[in-house]
Symmetry: C2
Subunit: 674 residues, 2 copies
Amino acid sequence: MAPPHPFDPLSPQEISLAVKYIKDAYPGHNVIFRVVTLAEPSKAQMIPYLQAERLAVSSSKPPAVVPRPRRIAHVQFYLGDSSDFREVRVDLGSGERLEESKLEGKHSYLDETLMQACEKACLADQGVREAIELLELPEGAVVCVEPWTYGTDGMRDMSRRLIMCYLYMRLSSHGDANHYAYPLDLCVEMTDELEVLGIFNLPSGVDDRYTPVTEGVRKFDRSKIHGSSEYHPDLVPDRRTSTKPYQVVQPDGPSFHTDGNLITWEKWRMRVGFNYREGLTLHDITYDGRSVFYRLSLSEMFVPYGDSRAPFPRKAAFDLGSNGAGVNANNLKLGCDCLGNIKYFDAYLHNTFGDPVKFPNVICCHEIDDGILWKHTNYRTGNAVVTRSRILVLQTIITVGNYEYIFAFHFTQDACINYEVRATGILSTTPINKGDSVPYGTLVAPGVLAPYHQHLFSLRIDPAIDGYENSLVVEDSIPMPLDDPKIHNPFGIGYTTTKETIETETPLGTDITKARIFKIINENVRNPVNNMPVGYKLVPHYSQMLLAHPSSLHAKRSEFCSHPLWVTRYSDRELYSSGDHTMQSFGGEGIASWIKSRASSPASNVRNQDIVLWHTFGTTHNPRIEDWPVMPAEKMLVSLKPVNFFTGNPAVDVPVSTQEKNKSVLVDDGERNN
Amino acid sequence: MAPPHPFDPLSPQEISLAVKYIKDAYPGHNVIFRVVTLAEPSKAQMIPYLQAERLAVSSSKPPAVVPRPRRIAHVQFYLGDSSDFREVRVDLGSGERLEESKLEGKHSYLDETLMQACEKACLADQGVREAIELLELPEGAVVCVEPWTYGTDGMRDMSRRLIMCYLYMRLSSHGDANHYAYPLDLCVEMTDELEVLGIFNLPSGVDDRYTPVTEGVRKFDRSKIHGSSEYHPDLVPDRRTSTKPYQVVQPDGPSFHTDGNLITWEKWRMRVGFNYREGLTLHDITYDGRSVFYRLSLSEMFVPYGDSRAPFPRKAAFDLGSNGAGVNANNLKLGCDCLGNIKYFDAYLHNTFGDPVKFPNVICCHEIDDGILWKHTNYRTGNAVVTRSRILVLQTIITVGNYEYIFAFHFTQDACINYEVRATGILSTTPINKGDSVPYGTLVAPGVLAPYHQHLFSLRIDPAIDGYENSLVVEDSIPMPLDDPKIHNPFGIGYTTTKETIETETPLGTDITKARIFKIINENVRNPVNNMPVGYKLVPHYSQMLLAHPSSLHAKRSEFCSHPLWVTRYSDRELYSSGDHTMQSFGGEGIASWIKSRASSPASNVRNQDIVLWHTFGTTHNPRIEDWPVMPAEKMLVSLKPVNFFTGNPAVDVPVSTQEKNKSVLVDDGERNN
């Protein structure tokens, strides 16, 4: 078997090997494995390796002799219990342990094993049972527990991991009945050792406060019971029958080819990666043999809620850093998610004992048709030429408790990369007394409040536009002045562009009034036709930034959420824009802190350097009742488009659309099929 | 045969009848027909008619006896020649001529007949031939003429229609060779009587000016000749073969049903209209029997160029008012534009003699799959439920000289309507001397400048949200204050929304920093679950507005281009946001003028009234070289989404996605098909 590519995730054997080395190092200790993942080689090592590789591909000669980077595992584990959290890098060849350190005051993410343990412990707790008793729930009610990470609010000692258990109930014996339709007036604070710290009533009236249950009894209001909050087909059997089948047929198979984690499609070539935290990552992306991006990944996301009443400020989830996009990735075959010819990628992660665990079908690779790519009709000849746009989709879907996120990279034939995010799933609800309403939430069912919240994503863009030294240019479109004698603008209609090349690390703002675009350019490579530097532009998804006050813990913990764009100097260890450890973090660990730490040092220079762009985007989600009981996907789209990178439309050679190939079917007037 | 529906376009017979009435009224005159189209009945007439019709549909009883509005044709014509431009409405029943008037100082649009006549006359003109001679064009060069409407710049008497003829050449005998690759240093000013007013050199160097050819000779620079600017498959025979066929199969046929211009699909019901100017229009749109929109249409578009040198300020096209989206609509079968099961709609327009002319396949109706509509995985049971999004597309494509626009209304199963615009086609180029560059254009080929320009669209949204009295609410998401004792925000993370109901006609601005949304609500109808007024929200396409100075003729002529959103009181005769007559207009005729004319009168009240929204959006198009020689479609999307209109997700009953229906195909690792 060929040796793994340096970007390939750890194989099950490599995971086991890393685990063995750690266990051997701590004989007689109980080692709880939290992270065993590939430590990607430094870029300094990878650049010559990839250049040799590309040369070999283009010249079909064997690769030059470039040292293959060592396989190194990045491991995080608890020694004994979670009070002793450690990190180490393990050389899988020699077994050597590198940079071992204690992670004082840091906490690992919350995983499903712990969540399920919390649920059980919570329901088994005598105090909780008594509190539930007092609610006098209806016959047949099944209480469900939603464990949440504790969003730091300064109300508790943070030396241990804390889990917030929000209680719900379902009234059906069906396991998929929607318990979010019945949020209970109860919540439980627990430690990760499953010790109950307190049992509380939630604020359920406009002026209620977060209070220990001992302060008073609140019976469940039976008038909240309703029958309209289900989504599962078993419980919504009466479904529309008007939607006829729609199939994608690819008689000659897909246009892509895969070889392990290497994907080639049309003129694109890239490597797929996957890890517990970011989930899907993309590496060494080239078009027609030219380097475009070194690495693309979702760096972090933050979901803060706008309800100011305790304990709801604790609902502030870092779904990557504190939950993990990889460990929460769906098996896409289960959901029957795609059409046409689909290639699935599996991933190998591990359990807390360090045993490798297969996560099947966490990434799907397929093609979609996106309508017209380009068209022109010459009215003189009446000849129309039209091409259709084929897109390669690399998709992963995660479930984080109530919500689903669909993350997809789209590669186009005209050399664009689009990153599409869809938010779906079920709203996280809280109880509200019948008749009450609050200005920071939507009533979606009787006694059910869907609080306002934001979803803010941080897309990490590590460019390599025709090389690894790039610059960022901010380009605005502005009117020409009317009264400048040096400017010829007699009709007052002239406009031009201003271009500012960014010199040092900084956050940046979007500006629609100036049609601002952000160009990643290579100042060392010029377009042969118009002599402009080659580049790619970022077309942002315009979004509101964080609403929480800059002095709040939310703002301090989510530094990336203050600005839509950031540019930093590349550093091997800077992957997560809210810091490596978001669980119960206090802030000061993210992208703004990095920039501050290097301010006015040469390391902050980003002109003609190895740079990284970070795009913050998302949605201020003030729920519609139409988002209930399950939310129609809300789409967000970010684009990376070539600008002066080619000498013309790279898709000019796409085959012309023909009926012979399309086999479309004419529908006669009045045709009906039911 | 059933009588036409009041919204049905004029039939060929009705066109001929209208024409006959006019000809009879002017015996012995040469009548040149410019417009013979349906005069849509007043809304006052239509409301009771549609309500009776809906009642009949829902109760399947025969419609109540509501007077059927008279069929009336709206006619514009020249009497004798274009110096006598007239307008009249003709009652097709009685032949009665209503509101006949002379359109003093107004001009009709530029059509293909006149464009082709101009091309011929231009090339036949002795002076033009001599000027071309002086260029000393290469052997086999074929000169092409691009006639343009004259964007008012104050340099010419405007009593007649003027046509700007820009000259290009192609070097291939192939009729579809790209002549935009060779813009010549020549342009000709003509009247619509084909009289040449002047022959000029274009500014081709940085400091050149617009000068009569008599002032000097400019030979064509043969070093501009290049071979890389073609798009037609005959001329780009070497096309990529890696794109495998991709077909959409609908074994049970489409999910839509058509009956004449009536379309029903899923729970939607609407009527399709079509006219010479707006092209595709939609009428009486309902979901599940509830009224949503009375009329949706593209009202206008403006394409001003940013090159300040005469004569380029004249390049400022109103592609609807001065060219016409209907008369320039593509025959969609020619282009083989869609996949799956497609229903085409034909249109009937007319020639200048008044003879009906069939425009086949100007609208296509088909379905597309849009990926995941909603999904949720219950991690407790491991059960995933996923539905796919089916969309009904109503599409029309227009060619206006060099450019193509693809206009599509998308109807979704979750009751949204999206309006998608794609801009494609070929850049309008001007000559530039080798070695020169200007700050308001991109060099796309040797000696070829693609000037900066904007595309600004005006979408007219005539809502009828559960009735015809609606209001507009501007809703912003804003942080809760930190220091207001009346506000409980101890953690500084609270946020809420402000809602302003608009009282009088006004332009409005978007504001991403506030996540501003625009809600069209019906204050008289409340959501039964949360008691909020029913509504739809507009999700705008964020765009830069007009760059031309407010004092410029561009700005005065394109009033809608100053703000992204406008709300007006409904008026039967206000359909075009730059006024009824944009050809060589001087301004003062558009949406801002309407509002000014009614300011502080009761007619300006828009709260709980019959209102119209106008959304201005588009793109500042500073060409990339990748847009050449044919432009990959640039997409813009506007959405209309229900907010508290339903009691929950209207798509909760969409059938679950299953492999049995999807028939997807698993791709094995390493599979290749070439």
